[in-house]
Assembly symmetry: C2
């Protein structure tokens, strides 16, 4: 069976790291067909919609989509794409690797970020010349769906992040709904304030395994963790829906190095490994991860990790290890 994958390189280094990940996927021997679609600033600059209908439609019907990065138009591209695949959770692993300098070497945390609501549901208005408002939305059903996923993902238990001491009704509903589902499934949880988690991640990240978060909390805590493990070049992510999913590195377009052929492909290759997991190619997914780990440990490395290798050097080295 041919697996059809939509690929959206986007802008900047997206154009370099997505082809790298395709090379790695092709080297697994699985029969893939890649359908490329356009999105991002370069489409908008030519007078188009940064997320053309056709691209949206392709993502909304494919089993899996691999996305690179978008520039100024990022929010106009990635938020509708997450919606197009009906993803309710954004899975963001943040771990350190032997061979890569990290502020917190023992870190290995996965964020399960609510992917549909919170401030991202974003009903905003400028009430008066002086006052603007945003309606943050938290529903029991979305929180429960996330919690069901978390129970399967982390049957050994997880932490629930919230700010229910201030957002009593909304984050209270989030926290309580998640904890109730976990209890019903016999899964242990602890709950913690998002500000306290931000601090503890810096001090003792080894105390966390899986952290279930409201949308914006997941955004900030996972970016902070990127800083702790040594930068965004290593963080993959998966936007998971019931029927389809979209995979993307956590990093952006890196305009400072775009076009030079030295972008670190690891975050996108690791996102491709999550895509393999999603399509049930478990062995191939593990092989890709092992290959990335081997390259991180022994080189070659791109400049962001202190090396002088190119994107192609690193990609070839990963492929050779498969």
């Amino acid at each position: 069976m041919t697996e059809e994958i939509v690929v959206i390189p986007g802008d900047g280094i997206g154009q370099e790291v997505v082809p790298a990940a395709i090379d790695v996927l092709q080297a697994t021997g699985i029969d893939f067909e890649f359908v490329e679609a356009a999105a991002g600033d370069h489409v908008a600059d030519e007078g188009g919609d940064p997320l053309p209908d056709e691209t949206r439609e392709l993502a909304a019907t494919a089993d899996a989509t691999l996305f690179g990065a978008a520039g100024e138009s990022a929010a106009d591209v990635i938020l509708p794409l997450r919606d197009a695949v009906d993803s309710f959770v954004n899975v963001r692993p943040a771990r350190t690797y032997p061979g890569v300098d990290a502020l917190k070497p023992g870190m290995d945390v996965v964020f399960l970020r609510e992917n549909t609501e919170g401030v991202y549901a974003g009903h905003e208005s400028r009430l008066t010349d002086d006052v603007s408002t945003l309606t943050r939305v938290v529903s029991k059903s979305a929180s429960e769906r996330l919690a069901e996923y978390a129970c399967e993902f982390a049957p050994e238990g997880f932490t629930v992040a919230h700010k229910a001491n201030v957002m009593r009704e909304t984050d209270g509903l989030f926290r309580d709904s998640v904890v109730d589902v976990a209890e019903a499934n016999g899964v242990e949880t602890d709950t913690a304030l998002m500000d306290a988690i931000a601090m503890h991640l810096c001090l003792r990240p080894e105390e966390y395994d899986t952290i279930v978060c409201p949308n914006l909390a997941g955004d900030v805590l996972s970016d902070l963790s990127a800083g702790l493990v040594g930068g965004l070049g290593l963080l993959p992510s998966a936007n998971i829906g019931e029927e389809r999913a979209l995979f993307e590195p956590v990093h952006g377009t890196a305009p400072d190095i775009a076009g030079q052929g030295v972008a670190n492909p690891c975050a996108t290759v690791l996102s491709a490994a999550m895509l393999l997991d999603y399509l049930d190619y478990d062995d191939e997914a593990d092989n890709v991860r092992d290959a990335v780990e081997g390259v991180l440990a022994h080189g070659p490395r791109t400049p962001d990790l202190g090396g002088d290798a190119t994107t192609t050097d690193v990609t070839n080295a990963i492929v050779e290890r498969l």
Copy 2:
């Protein structure tokens, strides 16, 4: 002239670190009168309001209030107290000290946190059994008032944190209002997404000096910075209003060590130094900071910093250095 200061030790180690800070204030030779007021879980446990009217009234009329910490009732105590002193900015310096282990030794950042609105303005409702909402409020006037303060505080320029790619109207208004005031005052700014700042603080905190933040962003980014400088035991804060102000350590009640006499008094003593700044005792404020710095560099140190000194040992050592 006698300076009347309201002191609210609160719960847990608040009962230990506030008396320590009073000892230091008294040792400055300034003529202080301290009026103690009750608040926190221990008041609620006896059937009272965690923030008694009398305490609120005292803070609302005093020039300056020194607060310790509150337990479960923290939000019910500290948020109304910030409001009682009409504070529009929460000033949170986060720096490292010679002699104290820190993840990021070169860090020296001050957060200017909007202190009246954002999600803290908190109009919440449970619309249906499934759906809850919170109305986040951002006003031009509050953003401008914060910006005026920031221009005086950091005439050399500052960074504006926001998430206007998602919260376009509200954080857009915040960002633009702050930048406009800065421009009108000839003060340079740069703007950055709060998630990106969270990461960059871990990687290159030396790139930041002063960061102006919406309320919740300031909460999370300053707690994260506490992690980077070695823990909450060192972070003071000032809630500044036009007429009065309230000073508090960023840490909480530390129930695990409360009552043992080993709490680190430095965050509260440094908060007292900010109180001295506010009352224009600049030399005394500098002396207190120098004394704390000397003790951190040469000891004695409390257990949270790897020492075995008591709160009293550290307080006496600070007083001796004045």
